[in-house]
Assembly symmetry: C2
Homo-oligomer: 113 residues x 2
């Protein structure tokens, strides 16, 4: 098993787990781009958004809902935040395990990449 | 009615509608940041992601699915693309009607804003 996010999900790599349930896991990005920069991942290995199957589609909705809940918990829900999913090379996806970025805690640029 | 996205959804403002169904509408961003820059919006007025109700949660999943389908249609699914939802002022949300950005067609920066 070489996927670092799977290793975090399995407890084989240390991670500051902020939330988890049966389906998803939340931990800070190790190279944060904002005061709040969390990753929401499925525990199941899915390499990219473009690879999800029909049966996994509700999982993406659950990832978004989890991000909103984390934004509330972390106190950025009212001031504002950004959710990003990078898919594939040109999308800037660096780890080949589906993940949703939650960024907040500062004024984010209008530039989306 | 002053919401420009509601006016596009109602056909009261011109828009190059690339896809629509009962729930969502897709059209190009008028200030594109990439060769492909589409907006996926709900037809129903929801001011921001943080304002969705429990009953609207499946709608966000449908917006994501629609974005993936548009990425396929537009030929960026394999090379890669980015999905972004800005929520509120610090998130960089400019139009107060929930919208999902789909960007592709060039190498996107690792900077998420």
């Amino acid at each position: 098993m070489s996927c670092i996010f799977c290793q975090i999900a399995d407890g084989k790599l240390p991670g500051d787990i902020l939330y988890q349930d049966e389906e998803v896991l939340v931990f800070p990005d190790i190279q944060p781009q904002a005061p709040l920069h969390l990753l929401i991942i499925p525990k199941k290995h899915i390499s990219a958004l473009s690879r999800i199957t029909r049966e996994d589609k509700p999982l993406v909705g659950h990832m978004i809902n989890t991000a909103q809940e984390m934004a509330r918990r972390e106190g950025v829900s009212e001031k504002g935040y950004r959710l990003v999913i990078n898919c594939g090379q040109q999308g800037g996806q660096l780890v080949p395990h589906l993940h949703l970025h939650l960024l907040g805690g500062r004024q984010l640029s209008d530039q989306l990449g």
